[in-house]
């Protein structure tokens, strides 16, 4: 099925691009949206990425899966655009994890989280806060986070898409999670969260 789609794309059939959008459009849009943060910018990224697919499909040799190749084009297109903008420095993470004493114990007690899964409104609020946190991540950490957490891609695939060692992918994901956890901590800490 993917091979058939690739062949149709190589023949430049308009219907093949419609199929591409139908089959992979949602995942590509999600990645572009989470990386760029704005719908309009995500659409611009997708437009540019689809153009690159059109221009480079003849060179696609099938060594990587089509989805991996598509992810790579969208992520690289988004990162190229983000490079032109001023983004968060990596020092952001210095205060992201818990603080420890010299003995390696917590400097402050870790609060219990109150997670209200059944309260949709509060959950939407929390998701909004999470999205804001994702937008504050440095670009390459955000790319890893989006591909791992939101798209659930295996570390190996993410490493191939971003051209990074697997160990670096894992480290960046862990640090991104620690940062996002810290962003959400005030919200979810029992007694501090929103009053239901």
């Amino acid at each position: 099925m993917p091979a058939e789609l690739v062949e149709a794309l190589k023949r430049n059939e308009a219907s093949a691009f419609e199929r591409l959008l139908a089959q992979h459009g949602a995942m590509l849009y999600r990645v572009a949206l989470r990386l760029m943060g704005q719908r309009e910018e995500a659409e611009d990224v997708l437009q540019e990425a689809l153009l690159k697919v059109h221009q480079n499909i003849q060179a696609f040799d099938g060594r990587a899966a089509l989805t991996t190749w598509l992810y790579r084009i969208v992520v690289n297109t988004a990162l190229m655009r983000l490079r032109a903008q001023t983004r968060a420095p990596e020092e952001l993470f210095d205060t992201a994890g818990p603080l420890f004493t010299e003995d390696g114990d917590y400097a402050q007690e870790v609060a219990e989280w109150a997670m209200p899964p059944e309260q949709l409104l509060l959950r939407q609020e929390a998701l909004g806060m999470l999205q804001q946190g994702i937008e504050r991540l440095p670009d390459l950490y955000r790319a890893v986070y989006v591909l791992a957490e939101i798209e659930s891609l295996p570390y190996r695939d993410i490493a191939a898409i971003l051209d990074l060692p697997v160990g670096t992918v894992k480290t960046r994901l862990h640090r991104a999670r620690l940062f996002l956890r810290a962003v959400l901590a005030d919200y979810f800490a029992a007694g501090k969260g929103p009053s239901a």
Binding site: Y29, R30, Q47, L51, G104, E112, E149, H174, F188
Partner: protein
């Protein structure tokens, strides 16, 4: 319903701690620092720790309220992030992209 779910959650937590405590009565040497435990959380959740390391991790978690709560909040952060997966491409965006492609494909390259 809410209090029932909360009670069940507390019960599961208690069961997990009890099981870990019975399986590993004494924390092993080398896993005494919470900082080290935080570094291993991802490996624990990915199930890539060595068996001895995993046992030591679980023994520490069972005895340390801070690490236990940290693990729960780390898991909750992951679960919340995964909810962002539901986003679909809006129909108007898809239509504009199809029009864009249609126009570009008709142009001689």
């Amino acid at each position: 319903m809410t209090s029932w779910a909360w009670l069940m959650g507390r019960f599961r937590t208690w069961l997990f701690k009890l099981e870990a405590r019975l399986s590993h009565p004494r924390p092993s040497v080398g896993m005494q620092h919470c900082r080290h435990v935080i570094e291993l959380i991802m490996g624990y959740l990915d199930d890539t720790l060595e068996p001895a390391e995993r046992r030591a991790f679980e023994a520490h978690i069972a005895d340390c309220g801070n690490c236990w709560r940290f693990l729960r909040s780390y898991r909750a952060t992951i679960a919340l992030g995964q909810e962002l997966r539901d986003e679909d491409i809006p129909s108007d965006v898809r239509e504009r992209l199809e029009t864009f492609l249609h126009n570009r494909l008709q142009r001689p390259s």
